[in-house]
Symmetry: D2
Subunit: 143 residues, 4 copies
Amino acid sequence: MDEMLMMGREVLAEQPFSVLIGAELLKFSVGSAELKVPVKRELQQQHGFLHGGVVSYAADNALTYVGGSVLGPAVVTAEFKINYVRPALGDCIVARAEAVYVGKSQAVCRCEVFAVAGEKESLCAVAQGTITKIGRSESRSEG
Amino acid sequence: MDEMLMMGREVLAEQPFSVLIGAELLKFSVGSAELKVPVKRELQQQHGFLHGGVVSYAADNALTYVGGSVLGPAVVTAEFKINYVRPALGDCIVARAEAVYVGKSQAVCRCEVFAVAGEKESLCAVAQGTITKIGRSESRSEG
Amino acid sequence: MDEMLMMGREVLAEQPFSVLIGAELLKFSVGSAELKVPVKRELQQQHGFLHGGVVSYAADNALTYVGGSVLGPAVVTAEFKINYVRPALGDCIVARAEAVYVGKSQAVCRCEVFAVAGEKESLCAVAQGTITKIGRSESRSEG
Amino acid sequence: MDEMLMMGREVLAEQPFSVLIGAELLKFSVGSAELKVPVKRELQQQHGFLHGGVVSYAADNALTYVGGSVLGPAVVTAEFKINYVRPALGDCIVARAEAVYVGKSQAVCRCEVFAVAGEKESLCAVAQGTITKIGRSESRSEG
């Protein structure tokens, strides 16, 4: 495993909420991040789908990771927007994020979340947001 | 406790993810919903703040509730946007949502999330989104 | 007319696009701004409603104004989100913006756009966005 | 010129606001649309950049077009979000939109807006939004 992915996984292991959810960092390189969350009973809503809050967690965290990959580790998601397009069912979801613009202190990133069932992937959400370096301005909710 | 709040709490109790997080529905009436999430260790990120994913869960779920209060119970959050403005610290967060537009099949709703420490409340996030009736179109991620 | 409104109107008069559209600043004070755009033929789309681009211009510019009212004049709208809820018909639209969070270098603001027909106002769009001081970081699209 | 592009250009010619702005539909096929707006004096703000409202008009309209390409002509942009990343300077801007999810009555689409100066293109904004069929639910601001 390369150093960057290893470092990213260490950070994830220090996030109690990510541990609670069972998130796993699959890929992590400059401008790209991939985060996996298992579909399990305690992450569902009342109809058996993964709760929207879990999908938005995955998008938010993948966005923060990819922002950190281009801006350095001390970053937060300042804001993001998510469109849910399909219920999340299957074995797991995978959130794939990429940086589309990198400035000195901010990056604009996008994320697609797929539901994975066996070999099949279905898009279940699309997100876009701003990742900001911390330290240079007011603090914001991290993670 | 009134019937609507009781019904809302029953739905929340049927969402395993909301139970895992420890969410509590404080208020629920037509056009208004208030959801509380305790600040506890397993919901934090690496710096001791509540994880952004928990804040977005609270906003998303409060938006779904308030949408359901005006459109009927079978609704989903189709999309939303959130701005994180301060790290979430303290005893708990409270997400307060209101409907600003109600159509036949969709409602546009807003939510403010406050961090509560003793008597003091600080705004930590602001959200806006679309809640849609289900059954009338394609299904989307519920919860 | 107070000084702040006068100053705001001078800035608007220096924006050729705002002049082209016929926008008028109705109110401008710390944390609040109100911008009016007339409903006229050349601002419409193919069905006789005000073009969505005009509604989003009004929201965007009112957001920039209210951000400037709390952060100082050198600001840009870094990002915003808008929900269109009704077609814009009538005599004019009025965009009313308020600051909901003010930091050192950024403000999170909201805007409601109303269609005005005689005495009657109907909500036609709701927006939320981030306004950022310029000079401190990379440049962004101003206006 | 193919039939679809021709039809798209006819619709654009029926939008007085698009005519006022001088927008031109460059490409239009199923799942893809490209709209051009010239950089000219009357579309600028006070610092000589293209006004943000023009950039958001281009994004919004390109999103509506691409939504229409997959859902049929009677569509509106229900909501969208835009991140401005660079001031728009140069000869023109080009908004390129694609559909990322197509449902029965809604499509989620993305758009990138580039500033074009000679041979050089620079990303100046990124957008994401929901395009909805009209007729099936309440009306919304079209265009």
